[in-house]
Structures are given as C-alpha cells and as structure tokens.
Amino acid sequence: MLKKIIKLLKSLNTNRNPGEIAHAVSIGFILGLVPKGNLLWIFLFILFLFVRINKGALFFITLLASAIAPSLDGLFDSLGYWVLVHPSLSPSFSLLLDIPFIAFTSFNDTLVMGGLCFGLLSYIPLYFLARLFIRVWRNSLLPKLVTIPLFKKLGNLFKIKSAVDILR
C-alpha cells in the first residue's frame, strides 16, 4: 500500500498525465462509495484495472472514500431509493432484475445505487477538481514544499527523495 502511495506521490510530482490521476480519483471515489461484496463492485474494479489510470491514486482514493462512505449512507439510501423507484426507470430496472446474474450486482440495493449515482454525478466535478489540484500542486505547492526541511526528511522517509530531486 505504501508503494502505491509512493507511486501516487511520484506521479503527482512528475509529468504524468494529470488526467490519469484525475480519472483514478473519480473512479476510486465511485469504488469507495459503492458497497463491496457485490458483482457490480467487482465488475467495476476489474474493469478499471484494465484502464490506464493511476492505480496508486485509485487505491488511495478508494480507501479514503470507503472510510467516509458509511457517514453518507443516509444520503445514498435516499438517492438510491429515489432512482430505483423513479417511475421512468423502475420498469427498466425490473426488466434488468429478470436477467440472470444481474441480481448479483445488487443494483437494486439503495446504498449500491445511491453510491454509484453519487459517484457518477461527482465524477466530472471531481475529475476537474483533481486536475486543478494537480496543477496547483505541481506548479505552486510542490516548489514551495521542497524548500521546507521537514518535507525533505519526510521525502527521505518515504523514499521519494529521487522524485523530489528531479524537481531541483
């Protein structure tokens, strides 16, 4: 896990495409919000493994979102319920449930649907926010941080010295 975080930090501090990280953040957010233990989560997780995104960012954000998701369950439940029982959508969902294996996705669980919808809705804003953060981090924050001795020590501790050195 530590390697993933180091990789994330390296990616943040190098010329890696910020889109990769931003997508990873958005996807990680979705995976974090959607409850685990259902086919939908597994399917999304495997699917995103084959997508060229920053895996470090993905795992980190997934963990982070998973930690905060239970506190938002009320919101997800309401949102998921609203979506699932929406008159224009419920016939489709009903048909979906009649397809073998689809039920294993637990899409008819209000938390799953709520988490998924919330994650999808927040995908684009989060993507742009992530990109903005990366830009700010790379161009403004990082140059200032590297001058702080404590950051240097932390950098050494987490073996990111080489990444920082490159920026010098």
Binding site: N15, R16, P70, Y81
Partner: protein, 746 residues
C-alpha cells in the same frame, strides 16, 4: 532554482562536466514540425519548470522549432531530459491496457470452455451420487446434458439398482427433462417449470450388479407420532369376536339352539344322565362275571371234551376201564352242576336288575317321544321368518375391510404426510448465537419491483408417463413447493392407471397454506378392477387372524368393481372418507354351516345377489372420535330374498328342523341305549353260558347213562356168561364175583 543554489554554494561544487546537444535523448531530436513538437512534447509537459526547461532546448524559426545546437548540458540535465521523455512517452491517448485485458479474457474463455466441456459429466456424476446416497445402490445414467442458457437438463437411461436385489432395478426411467429457472437458481432457489418423466419401469433386470458397500449409519430414533391410534380401533369387538349374525338369526331353526333354549322343558336329557349313571353302576357290578363264568365254562368244556374222547367200543371190549370213565364223567357233571348253581344264583339277581334297566329304557323312550312332540310343537309355532331390518351382514364385511385397511395403511399415510408437511412447511430459521462481526457490511433497502412468490423449492409441473406391460400410466403433479403460503397454490396431482379393461383416475390436493380449507383432498375413481373382498381382507390380516375368514356363513364377495371415493382431511387425525363401491357383476358365497337345509337356502339367497352397491363414510373428529358407517342396499336385498325363501319353504324347513331335532335327540340318547345294550349283553352272555352248561350237563348225564348202559349190558353179558360158567363151574361163585365188581357202582 538550480542556478540560485549554485550561486549560494559556489565553493563547494566542482566544475560539472558538460555535454553537447548530441547527448540528449533522440526523443527531442526527431520532431521538427512545429505542430508535432507542440503536440508530442510540450503538451505532455505538466510541470512549468520542466516545460520551460524543455522549451529552452528549441528556438522558433520560420514556423518551425529547431534545437539550439550550441547548448550544453550537465549530466543531471541529460538525466532530467530522459525522465521527462519517459513521462511524455508513457502518456498514451488510448486508455485501455490491452495485454492484461486479453489475458483476462483468455482466462475467462478457458473457464467457460471448461464449464461447457465438463458440465454434462459433472451433472451425470452428481445425479449418480445423489441416487446412490438415497437408495444405497448403484445408479447408472446413459446420458446427461445440461443447457445453462436454455435452463434445461436432460437425463437418459436412468437405472437405479435395488439394494436388496442388486441384479434388479428399483426403477428405470427412459428419459427425464427438467426445465428450470436459471434466474431463481442464481437466487439459491430451485424452481422448475416443467419436469417430464417418460417410461418408468419397476423391477427390471440389470446387466451388472448394483451393489455398493454400505457405510454404517446411525439410525435415527423414530419419533412417536401423535397420530391416531388404530390399535385401539382394531381391538373393537367387531374384529375380536367375529360372529355371523345370519347364523344367529337362524338359530330358531337350529336343533341345537332349539334344544338349548328348551332345555328346562325337556325330560330326556336329565333322565338320560340318571340312566347312564345307574346303568353304568350296574354294568360295573356285573361286567366281570361273564368273564369269570366263561373261564369256568371253559374248564367244564375241557372236561366235556375228555368225556367225548372216551371210546365206548374200547370200554365194551375192556369193561375194567368203565369205572374209571364213569368216575371222570361224574366229576365233570359235579363241576357243571356247581357252576350252573352259581350262574343260576347270579342270573336270578341279574334278572331283577335287567327288569330295572328295561324299565329305564321304556322311560327313556317315553321321555324322548314326549320331548320330540314338545319340540315339534315349538318349531311349528315358527310360521314365518323375518331377519331384523338392521342386519348388515355384507356391510359388516366391508366395514371390517375398511377398518383393517385403515389399520394397515394409516400409519404409513401419517408418516408420509409428516414428511411432506415437513418439506412443504416454510423452514424455520434456527436462531444461532450471533458472532461478533468483524466487518460491517453496508446494506440498504432492497427494491424488488415484483413480489417474489417463488419459494426456495418449487416444481411447477411434473409429468410422468409410462407403459408397463399393458398398463398406461400417466401422472401430472403441480406446484410442489416448500412454502405454499408464499407460492399461493397448493400441491395438486392427477394420475391415471389404465388398461383396456381397468380404469383408475385419482386426484390429490395437498394444502398447507394458512388460508386453506382442507389439508388434503383426495378423489379416486376406479372401474373394471377385479376385486375379491375376502382375499383383500385376508391380505390385511396376518397369521392366525386370517383363519377368521373361514367362519361359516361369512359372506365371501368378489366381482368387478367401480369405486368412487373422496378423502378430506383437516389434520392428520381429523379426516373424512366418503365414497361408494359398486361390484357389478358380483358373486357372493360362503363356507358351509349347519344345519344343511338353512345353509342351502342361505347359499341360494347369496347366489341371487348379482351386484353390490355400497356407500361408506369413515371419519375421525376431535369431538366425536372415530366413526365408520358403511351402508348398502345389498343387505336389504339379501334379507328380503332370504326371508322370502325361508317363508316359501317354512313347512319343509320345519319338518327338516324336526328331523334334525329328532336326530339330535337320538344322538343325545344314544349313549343311554348303548349303556343299556351293554348291560343287557351281560345278561345275554350269562344266559348263553348257562345254556352251554346245561348242554354240558346233559351231555355228561347222557354219557353216564350210556356208560351205565354199557356196564349194565356188560353185566348182563357177564351174568349170562357166569350163569353159563356156573352152570358150568358153579353159578354162585360168579355171581359173587360180579357182585364184588359192581359193588362200587351202586
């Protein structure tokens, strides 16, 4: 930034080695076009310092970028440029990692291929194992196929061996087709829309042994069911003390019954007892005498034989032996007289007892005649015959069969129903102690859209068909489920067993829903089945009980049946069975009984019964308990026919009954006459012996007189000779001598 640091610490840093533009990565050299460099290099730079550093490599001229040829680089610069080039190269527009995806897809494909290849084999082995574990004998399947997408299973040539007869099949099924609901299966529910079972055969031969070694299993203790106790029912008097009502009703014409009823009014039986005792005593008194007299008579007879052996001619020639012969004859005569005296004395005593016995004989005869007259009068009083209307002779037989059938099959029915009830009742979830969950699983509300009415086990339609010899068997079973309340339908079944002559149709509704009307409703219609009620009854009784079927007069019914029945049960112990039984044509017969004339009429009446129409109702309720009613017009018909026959021939019946009574009385009095006869035989024997002795006496006396005559003649002759000698030698001497010789005789 690097320049600033270099300025701060100029003394510490040595003069770095520089490199020309040729040493930078070729990545920066290839692109000449302005647009290409912008797109491929500058666009990939996302750090401002790096961008300015890379841009410093180029100069813009005539709408194109050119590398600054005289620019020098340190080792760090070169490394930095390499790192930047690597980062830019790694930024690919296409966001899918194709290689891992392809590998994963290949794995999935291999997995699917494996499932497709081995699914049929797995199914075959699984079904075989299930069959073998249930029936504890080998299960063979010729062909098995499962189509997952079509949700269809096909099994061909199933042969389940019989564990008790390994070379026989318990059953053999040509083909089973199962259409199941894959969607429900994925929800851990087995829902089958159609199951078709074709050509079931039982007890067929196997080519190889079906034996498999058994694993020892702990036998489960049988639960003592709270089922209805039929043992109590079976101990009803109707079974324990089987009596033939018809014979009881005919008792007024039965001599034995007549005599037993009129026993107090009859003289002869009591008198017979007295006479037998008295005559017996007298017989004992005299019984040894004939033998004793016989021995004595034989002695006399021996003596007489000796007398008879005396040669008269010899005596004539030799007169000296005459005294000896006369002495022998005289002793025999004395013995004869002695014995005769004894016999005479006994005979005179016996004659007194003979008269007494003779008086007894006359008295018995008088009593017999008086009793016969009395009984005849009593029989003649029976001017008409009527069996009670309430008599249900044949219905009773049906009742017994019904009770025996229930007694035999009810426990099995209860056991089966308990198993079905156990299966069909919604499984109760056992409360297990909750373990502390380490992980919190987030679950929200599950929206189902459609009400899930499918229980975890549901077999919607099962169709069975078979043609065993000339039996056409088919059955339709619907809605077998383990939660009828959820499914909303009871289990129903219809079956047909037909041949060209026999038709059987049955239907069953088994309902365990809370809103049910009845737990079980069973209807059965059958026709054309040859039925022998006595054999059925016999098959229901074990051991000595079956001997009851040979009870005289018990109707033995057989015929071609037509049965309609309906069973309704609200609980295992609350049930009602209603129906009708028609035997048309039918034959009713019975074992013979006494008296013959009544049996003959009874048999004739039974023969006139050509059909049996009976209705039955068996019910057991919590309040009223067990009740069984079987009614049939055949009893009324029989009683009518039998009464008519009896009345038509009442006179002859009375005569026959009188004859029977007479014969019976004669038979009853026969020992008396025998005793009298035996006693009289003593008298006869003694009389015979007496006559014999008289004969012997006469013979002895005749012999004596004959001897005397000879002696006398001889005397005369001697006398004549003596006279002649006297005349010649002296008459006196001779006469004296003769006198001396004959002196002993006179």
């Amino acid at each position: 930034m690097n320049d600033e640091k270099k300025q701060k610490k100029p003394k510490k840093i040595k003069q770095a080695k520089t490199f020309s533009i040729k040493k930078i990565p070729s990545f920066y050299k290839k692109k000449k076009n302005l647009k290409k460099i912008e797109k491929k290099i500058f666009k990939g730079l996302h750090i401002a310092n790096d961008e300015s550093f890379v841009r410093s490599l180029y100069m813009q001229k005539d709408g194109q970028y050119f590398l600054i040829e005289d620019k020098t680089f340190t080792k760090k610069d070169i490394a930095r440029l390499k790192k930047i080039a690597k980062d830019i190269k790694s930024q690919k527009a296409f966001r899918i990692n194709l290689l891992p995806l392809a590998i994963s897809l290949a794995c999935i494909f291999a997995l699917v291929l494996s499932v497709i290849t081995f699914k049929d084999l797995v199914l075959k082995i699984a079904v075989q194992k299930i069959g073998e574990s249930i029936f504890q004998a080998k299960c063979d399947i010729d062909y098995a196929k499962i189509e997952l997408l079509n949700a269809h299973i096909r099994l061909d040539g199933i042969q389940q061996a019989d564990k008790n007869a390994p070379m026989k099949n318990l059953f053999e099924i040509d083909r089973i087709d199962i259409d199941f609901d894959l969607l429900q299966l994925l929800k851990k529910k087995f829902v089958s829309e159609n199951i078709e079972v074709r050509n079931i055969a039982f007890g067929t031969d196997r080519k190889s042994s079906g034996f498999i070694p058994q694993k020892e299993k702990k036998q489960k203790e049988k639960k003592e069911g709270d089922g209805f106790d039929f043992n109590a029912l079976l101990s009803l008097p109707i079974i324990q003390d089987e009596k033939n009502d018809i014979i009881e009703s005919l008792s007024s014409f039965n001599p034995e019954t007549i005599l037993s009823n009129l026993n107090d009014s009859l003289r002869s039986p009591d008198l017979a007892k007295t006479v037998i005792d008295d005559v017996g005593f007298l017989y004992t008194k005299y019984e040894k005498l004939p033998n004793e007299f016989d021995i004595a008579t034989k002695d006399v007879q021996e003596k007489i034989k000796e007398i008879q052996a005396i040669d008269i001619e010899e005596l004539k020639k030799n007169p000296t032996k005459i005294p000896e012969a006369i002495s022998l004859v005289q002793s025999s005569l004395d013995l004869t007289k002695e014995i005769k005296t004894k016999i005479d004395k006994t005979s005179s005593e016996l004659q007194g007892d003979v008269k007494k016995v003779s008086a007894y004989s006359k008295e018995i005869q008088t009593a017999f005649n008086a009793d016969l007259t009395f009984v005849s009068k009593e029989i003649n009083k029976l001017t008409s015959f009527r069996l009670g209307d309430a008599k249900t002779i044949i219905a009773d037989e049906l009742e017994k069969i019904a009770i025996r059938s229930l007694g035999k099959y009810y426990p099995y029915a209860v056991l089966g129903l308990e198993k079905v009830k156990e299966f069909s009742t919604k499984p109760k979830k056992e409360v297990k102690p909750k373990k502390e969950k380490k992980r919190i699983i987030r679950t929200g509300r599950i929206i189902t859209y459609k009400k899930d009415t499918k229980p975890s086990i549901l077999l919607q339609n099962i169709h069975l068909s078979s043609l065993v010899s000339d039996w056409d068997i088919s059955a339709e079973i619907k809605d077998i489920s383990n939660d009828m309340d959820l499914w909303g339908r009871p289990t129903s079944a219809e079956f047909i067993f037909d041949t060209s002559s026999i038709k059987n149709f049955g239907s069953l509704v088994f309902d365990l829903r809370e809103s049910r009307e009845n737990l079980i409703v069973v209807n059965y219609d059958g026709a054309g089945y040859p039925m022998d009620l006595s054999k059925i009854s016999q098959s229901l009784i074990e051991g000595a009980e079956s001997q009851k079927l040979s009870i005289p007069g018990l109707p033995l019914i057989s015929g071609t049946s037509k049965i309609q029945s309906k069973l309704v049960a609200d609980d295992f112990n609350v049930f009602a069975i209603e129906g009708s039984l028609l035997l048309d044509p039918c034959s009713v017969r019975s074992a013979s009984f006494e008296p013959d004339f009544v049996y003959n009429l009874y048999a004739r009446a039974l023969q006139k019964l050509n059909s049996l129409d009976a209705s039955f109702k068996i019910q057991n309720t919590k309040d009223a308990g067990f009740d069984l009613k079987i009614s049939s017009d055949i009893d009324a018909q029989f009683i009518e026919i039998f009464s008519e026959l009896m009345n038509e021939e009442i006179t002859s019946i009375q005569q026959a009954a009188t004859k029977e009574v007479e014969a019976f009385l004669r038979e009853s009095l026969a020992p008396v006459y025998d005793a009298i006869g035996e006693f009289n035989s003593i008298d006869e024997l003694i009389e015979n012996q007496k006559k014999k002795l008289e004969g012997y006496q006469k013979e002895a006396e005749k012999k004596i007189s004959e001897l005397k005559q000879i002696a006398s003649n001889r005397l005369e002759e001697e006398k004549q000779k003596a006279l002649e000698q006297v005349q010649e030698q002296g008459k006196e001497v001779v006469e004296d001598a003769v006198k001396n010789v004959l002196k002993g005789f006179f």
